[in-house]
Symmetry: C2
Subunit: 114 residues, 2 copies
């Protein structure tokens, strides 16, 4: 039998988030992660906030909670997002220096648009 993942006490997330090694992120996954309008909004909002300032519930995007979780997972897999749990909240940081080092100028294009 597959063991049931343990829910950490006091958090609303089942397991701790897993983060990408930037060296393993393909250009394809980076481009696809940034092509989506909702993920562009998330990235732009994170870029104007301090690290760890924004919890997952504070983003103004017209999607369900489940869809938003999926968007966050895609951003994590593309090396764009770091998350950590703090009590009941999941806090977010844009991995800007790491991502810029791997794909120079790409994030800037998204942040400059609109």
């Amino acid at each position: 039998m597959t063991p049931t993942p343990q829910r950490a006490a006091g958090t609303s997330h089942r397991t701790a988030p897993v983060h990408a090694d930037l060296d393993q992120v393909t250009l394809e996954s980076a481009l696809l992660a940034l092509a989506d309008p909702v993920r562009q909004t998330l990235v732009r909002e994170l870029a104007t906030a301090n690290d760890w300032e924004r919890s997952c519930g504070t983003f103004d995007v017209p999607v369900t909670k489940a869809t938003l979780s999926r968007h966050f997972a895609i951003l994590r897999d593309a090396g764009l997002l770091e998350q950590r749990d703090s009590g009941p909240k999941r806090l977010n940081r844009l991995r800007r220096p790491e991502f810029d080092a791997r794909f120079p100028g790409l994030l800037d294009l998204v942040l400059a648009e609109r």
Copy 2:
């Protein structure tokens, strides 16, 4: 009734290709166009060729002719590709200066990868 497009004499293409106005190309369509591995190959091969040197049948990609046509159309729509018919051949040019002006550095990322 919709008029039937005329096939130009001596060409294998029904209608002349339509090209994108770079000002109208969205970042989303540019990123999606470049995210696909087959289209990355087409763009890289065009970047190493002279303008109008490569006809559509000369690209080494593992797709059907119909799928290849679809990839060319997506590249045209993203402002990356200019095509013109010359007798039975459709010739290709990477719109590098125009695309670079609209999305600085994006094409370079694709050309630098691998």
